[in-house]
């Protein structure tokens, strides 16, 4: 506690002198406080608990701050941390949000979100934000910290595009693009190209929705061909032609510039070349499916051969097997022969008896035809004949 009273000054300038002397003494002979210049900024770069601390403050300052009832706005006047990258360092960017408190004799700021690689962070401590009574000598302190960008190491690739065959119908409805690791979304259509034989890009073939159609892990993307670009029966298309034309060859390219969730581009581009066959307006029918029944007492695969490739995701989700008792048989399904063969391996041994293949009629072939219903975005049908969801059952014997 600094409290020297100098009796050498005349009463006239007494009070002023007192202040002058007191502050001189405070800055020159701090009793149990540290030198003002020892105030510094410390970064905690452990990503588990990111924090920035102002340390080296004197006791009075800390005590004063402990007693304030400041909201974020007031704390920010004292200590602000800014995130920037390149040009944005000079822009008028607001301070990062987070929590402030006094802890371990320091002002501690914990940002709401973890530090990000490749960014430069700038912490600014402004002692002018403190009231006049306390240590202001430290003025303004600026400290910077950067987490270097991760070393360039692209590893993610497109692992498969379904349908996997290389002959696709002119009224193909969709592609599923599978990645080997989680990807980043947003602006994805910049990286997806459908090119004709001459290498020209087909203009806007896909339905570009703001709500991109990813699975939860972002390892699978669904691309719908814009149904407005699919030739519909005999009705001609206006303006822009069809996306795919029978007899022609195309390449679907996923370019490597697409970033994965680690911020790395793909290791390489992926190209799927295919030829286009006639329109498929034949709805799938279970009568045409060939079931090869397994032997009882084994865990051999049950296989079903389709006359045409089916939609990969729906074939895996919408086909089940029921035992003679009616209970669903647990097991694993898989597709082979370019999604033309479905196989099912049970967990338990097959029992003897009449089993059932149960298929939801919303299953689709590559043109989006359902069981018993040709694909149409708009149906010019008598509305009485409504399509209702049903499970179609097909029996087979296990001997």
């Amino acid at each position: 506690m600094v409290g020297a009273v100098c009796l050498t000054f005349s009463e006239f300038g007494f009070r002023a002198s007192l202040l002058l002397v007191a502050s001189w003494l405070a800055s020159s002979f701090p009793a149990n406080s540290v030198e003002p210049s020892s105030v510094s900024i410390r970064w905690h770069t452990n990503s588990n608990q990111p924090a920035v601390e102002v340390v080296g403050l004197n006791e009075e300052t800390l005590r004063h701050l402990l007693n304030t009832n400041w909201q974020s706005e007031e704390w920010q006047k004292l200590l602000s941390v800014y995130a920037g990258q390149g040009d944005s360092m000079t822009m008028n960017v607001p301070a990062m949000i987070g929590s402030y408190r006094i802890q371990n004799d320091a002002i501690r700021f914990e940002p709401k979100f973890p530090w990000q690689r490749g960014l430069t962070y700038r912490a600014v401590y402004r002692a002018a934000g403190l009231s006049a009574r306390i240590d202001k000598a430290s003025g303004q302190i600026i400290s910077k910290f950067s987490l270097p960008a991760a070393p360039y190491n692209p590893t993610t690739i497109v692992s498969q595009i379904y349908p996997s065959g290389d002959v696709l119908p002119e009224n193909l409805l969709k592609f599923y693009v599978h990645f080997s690791a989680p990807m980043q979304g947003g602006h994805i259509y910049e990286h997806i190209h459908l090119r004709d034989e001459a290498g020209h890009s087909v203009e806007l073939p896909f339905l570009e929705l703001e709500e991109e159609l990813w699975n939860a892990e972002m390892t699978r993307l669904t691309l719908f061909i814009d149904p407005g670009r699919i030739k519909r029966g005999v009705k001609p298309l206006e303006e822009v032609g069809p996306a795919l034309e029978e007899g022609k060859r195309y390449t679907l390219e996923i370019d490597a510039a697409w970033l994965d969730n680690m911020g790395m581009p793909l290791r390489e581009s992926f190209r799927k070349a295919f030829r286009v066959s006639a329109q498929d307006r034949d709805p799938p029918s279970l009568q045409t499916w060939k079931i090869s029944a397994p032997k009882a007492g084994t865990r051999d695969a049950l296989t079903v051969a389709f006359p045409e490739p089916m939609d990969q995701a729906l074939a895996l989700r919408l086909i089940r097997v029921a035992s003679p008792s009616g209970r669903l048989v647990q097991g694993t399904s898989a597709l082979a022969a370019h999604e033309q063969v479905w196989s099912f391996r049970p967990q338990e041994f097959w029992t003897v008896g009449a089993h059932q293949l149960q298929v939801q009629n919303t299953i689709e072939d590559l043109a989006g035809n359902n069981i018993g219903k040709v694909f149409e975005v708009d149906l010019f049908d008598n509305v009485q004949r409504r399509f209702t969801n049903a499970v179609i059952k097909l029996s087979f014997e296990v001997r």
Partner: protein
Amino acid sequence: MKMLRFSFVLFLAIFTHSTVRAETTDWFAGMREGKPELKSISQLAFGPAGILFVADTKAAAIIALDTSDTKSTSDTKPIKIEGINQKVAGLLGTSADQILINDLVVNPISRNAYLAISRGRGPDAVPVLARVKASSELEVVSLDKIRFSRGDLPDAPVDGVVGEGNRQSNPRQESITDIAFLEDRVLIAGLSSEEFASTLRAIPFPFKKVEHGTSVEIYHGAHGRFETRAPIRTFVPFNVGNQPSLLAAYTCTPLVQFPISELKPGAKIKGKTIAELGNRNRPLDMIVYQKDGKDYILMANSSRGIMKIDTDKIEKAESITEHVQGGGTRGQPYETIASWAGVDQLDKLDSQHALVIRHGDGLLLNLESLPLP
């Protein structure tokens, strides 16, 4: 005024019984204070009394938030924030390219704008709600302690199943493409990521829990000779005369007219095409506004810029039942507002202005108010 063939904008007029609703609905019924655990934030829509509906696609739920933002204003100050994505990035300690602005809505009571933001673009992206006040001040809305209620969407419905959905053991994944509040329901347009199936459902608000989840009603865009499975891109409530209705922009439908019926479970929504948009059109956002005593639709779309569509005579508009052949045109007249290029998000700010987010230099997005054309 240009007349053009449109095929996407479908006008669905839903005439409900205009029962005089006594203002006794407690919109906050069922809400509790706490932290709504949002998994994602895609679409926003305002309901009554400052209640903000948030579509959480990942959680398959609609969250109703009590923003307590009910102070009305007659302010008409212009709003401008340049590089709003850069500024949001600064607040959230990241770079502008890691910010996705998914939706923009204005609270009609307070004129404050709300943004649905994704911090990050991967599966671990964090949903954030931000707010821009009349002073062009940007802030993050804390959801740590707020009154809210939750309407879980039952599993995506299958054709022919009407009413409450059961938890299926193998449900299909759905994305929510747009939501809107109409009278006493939240309308939800959804799209599956596997089957080519789009849905339009409504859940009553305040949210009602029934045995198998939230009570839901399903509508089919169908009647007469026509049924559409096309996804709805964006829709907005709209009054035709005194009748509350819905204006919806689809991705692909030929010109048809739907007769009109009531909004009830399994109801077939009858619609009237008011404009046929070409194949390059991709509607993003739509608002309805009044100018000189007339109603207009302002539509932002990614390839044609902003279109101002006349709604004159929609009620009496001729039904278009077949494709217009050989380049002829029918439908509501419209004009393109060339000066409003690069718009990503659009909402009405007040009676004189719209609020937009549009592309600036490089990666920058700018938020600004523009006078309604």
